[in-house]
Symmetry: C2
């Protein structure tokens, strides 16, 4: 590995110049006027993959943007990594808040500023440079690699799911590697081993055919805005515990090792509360804030709408009341089971004075690879090599739907090895990437392939899998 | 009275022609482009008042539209009626739904169609024609009359309150007569003896400085949309009874006579429910629907707004949640007392996880003149003469702020003697007035002055007054 690491150190500046060229392409998938840029970016990505020495690089057309694939499969007997990333980026509005043009990458104070720097071009490029270093110096990789880079991640990955399902066999591998998330904090490299799932609903209550005058009719009929409040209030108790029967049945309890790991993290409750601007932190008793956010399911009201909401006063009894609600799920809660339990309970607690319509919006499975999984442990060793310190093991409260898809369709564990920082403005003006983390990340990626290459293929999967 | 009634019968068609001229003036107070029409209407009204024989008719300028006053004060020893009405009308949009132009009054099937026919020009004109009949036939009125007609009723009567307070002495009288409300139903002439009051609030809860991602932060903080639901749910119990401590303390119980009177009314619960399109009627136990709407206080949620309310799903924890809420009040609830009780209770039940802001929007006192009040009974006899049947005594669930003002500032009882019908589209396209009711209303008004004239002034007020 030494010659590989030397090569990486020697080429440090070249990597930054090349990354600037990648970041110059405004591959904004959300804006139709950038469709040509998105395609140009796919082609640039493919060309770069060929340059670093990957085989069979090609663009696959989809109903949306092309998916770029490549591979290197000559490490006989070694495990296969399926590497996933995306080459599309978020829009840049409000453009006036950018300190330098979003598609003219500039280095300031050791950080490179540009849209896509952290999310996700910088992290994809880190892997391409690690692959390049291996192939230039040894003409081989220590693992087999399959690479799949999509151009619709920022608009819901609509084409990806079918693509994966249609190519179940071609995409067979031993482990998925994704670098599209932040580390826990600056100076705290981390490996994420769990994500929450989701089930999301719209609830519509109708009381009457049209809005009524609250003077003429107040007292005659139920008020759907009030009934909605009554109904929602029954979803959680005062302590923040969800009251939907059966909701916690499948929740995998936090292991002592996990709780101990979380406790080690540099987390300041007071600072966190102040940053959020909250009068108090609040949630289920007997769990710390990080445990609640990462490893406990929730019920949230995401939106409320009913009646008169303008300035001033209007004495109306609303005809309808609508709520958007969702539940974050943890392993081993099944979204369909929870959705059914929720719908049954909702029907039960909604009085007959209103007509109830439940719309199931979308959902996603929670995901977890236990952190003693051999691939996760291999990644931890690689990160330690790259960053000079042991990574922490964390979970995330959000979802990355593709992770659940890889688990569900391909039955693969994932290693989430991200080198962004939580404050690098992934979806905001002045997105940036710390170039120290970028450089260390290339080294860690090079070691990651080496560490995974040392594992016996397939056998390593025994402990993988989540909910 | 016979010559007077003969005169009214003889002039039936002339009244309709004159009313058409009155209805032709588009005195829409809500639209600045009709300001000149509003003034023209005030002048037309004043001219008509002079024509029928009233004295000292003049326009009083206000910061808004002129108030037209006139009087006839030569019935020495007799009581004084303060007659209130308004000459402004509602806008006409959506104009395309009108079957004939709103300011070209047309008679179809015994009804006159025009904006203002029922609300309130037709009912004002009915009184002017009754006054005219008395003065033409006998050169006198059996009562003293003070008339006050405003031009801002449809936009909140902003100038009226100060006008009344400034002229407390000039407006002294024994009873207020208002004809600006519907009768209970077609063929059911009625006298309204009670109105509900109101106290209205906006409630704002803030959880965090900005909206949060429900994945990254769900479980860390209280969700203000959920907290709002919890808080609102504590305002009423399952049976529809308001839980604000002290809320019912001042409520004047329904008298057996009132309940008996309400039971006589032709009211079909099933038809009412079907018309509203409600799955069920609902409200406080042990009260009928009419009792609940007319004589019981309520708590209503008038609006809800929080977080994401567009199409689709957005996984947000809202930073804020807002509700508009109001309580309808009945005698002898005081809006200020109830407002304070509500605010205290709201502060008590709102958890410290959110910041609470309460904004008191507006309020109005409930009003009631017991229906055995001599003026109310005089009006009942007059209606029986005009319509050939005894009127029913009803209350209304809404408010007419001016009634509370007359009670509060002038300490006068009011007689609400309306001849509109509930389905005459007072604020909607195709407003109309039944010409049979108009004609009978002129006769009833003529008798009303006679009946009140027979009462001894001042002494008759002994039983007046409400909450």
């Amino acid at each position: 590995m030494n010659t590989i690491i030397d090569f990486i150190h020697t080429n440090r500046d070249r990597y930054i110049d090349e990354l600037k060229a990648y970041l110059a392409i405004p591959s904004i998938s959300a804006l139709p006027e950038h469709a040509a840029d998105v395609r140009r970016c796919a082609e640039w990505t493919a060309e770069e993959m060929r340059r670093v020495g990957l085989d069979h690089v090609q663009l696959y057309e989809t109903p949306g943007n092309p998916i770029v694939c490549g591979e290197w499969l000559k490490a006989e007997g070694a495990p296969t990594i399926l590497f996933y990333g995306h080459y599309d980026v978020q829009p840049v509005d409000p453009i006036e808040l950018w300190e330098s043009p979003p598609f003219e990458a500039m280095v300031r104070s050791g950080e490179i500023y540009a849209r896509g720097a952290a999310d996700d071009k910088g992290q994809v490029f880190m892997h391409l440079k690690a692959i390049e270093a291996h192939l230039r110096q040894t003409s081989r990789l220590p693992v087999n690699m399959k690479i799949i880079l999509e151009g619709e991640e920022e608009v819901g990955s609509e084409s990806l799911d079918a693509f994966i399902r249609d190519r179940r066999d071609e995409l067979s591998a031993d482990v998925v590697v994704i670098s599209d998330s932040p580390m826990f904090d600056r100076g705290v490299p981390s490996i994420c081993y769990g994500l929450r799932g989701l089930t999301y609903f719209q609830i519509d209550l109708r009381g009457t055919a049209s809005d009524l005058h609250s003077g003429s009719f107040g007292g005659a009929v139920a008020n759907p805005a009030f009934v909605l409040s009554q109904v929602l209030a029954q979803m959680k108790d005062r302590g923040g515990r969800v009251k939907v029967p059966g909701f916690y049945d499948a929740v995998r309890p936090l292991r002592d090792e996990e709780r101990a790991e979380f406790k080690k993290l540099p987390f300041n409750e007071k600072h966190y509360r102040t940053e959020l601007g909250a009068p108090k932190l609040f949630g289920e008793r007997d769990y710390t804030t990080l445990e609640r956010v990462w490893a406990r399911p929730t019920f949230e009201v995401n939106g409320l709408q009913s009646g008169f909401t303008g300035d001033g006063a209007k004495t109306v009894i609303p005809a309808t009341a609508t709520a958007k609600v969702s539940m974050r799920l943890v392993p081993d809660q099944e979204p369909d089971t929870i959705a059914k339990q929720f719908e049954d309970y909702l029907r039960k607690v909604t009085p007959k004075t209103v007509a109830l319509t439940i719309t199931r919006m979308h959902g996603g499975r929670p995901w977890m690879t236990e952190f003693d999984n051999p691939y996760v442990q291999a990644a931890a060793r690689a990160v330690e090599r790259g960053f000079g310190q042991q990574p922490v093991f964390n979970r995330e409260g959000g979802s990355i739907p593709v992770v659940a898809t890889f688990q569900e369709v391909l039955d693969l564990p994932s290693v989430l090895f991200g080198i962004g920082l939580p404050d690098e403005n992934a979806h905001a003006p002045n997105e940036r990437l710390d170039l120290g983390n970028f450089h260390n990340g290339i080294i860690a990626s090079a070691y990651l392939y080496d560490e995974i290459g040392r594992l016996t293929g397939h056998a390593a999967t025994a402990e993988s899998g989540g909910g």
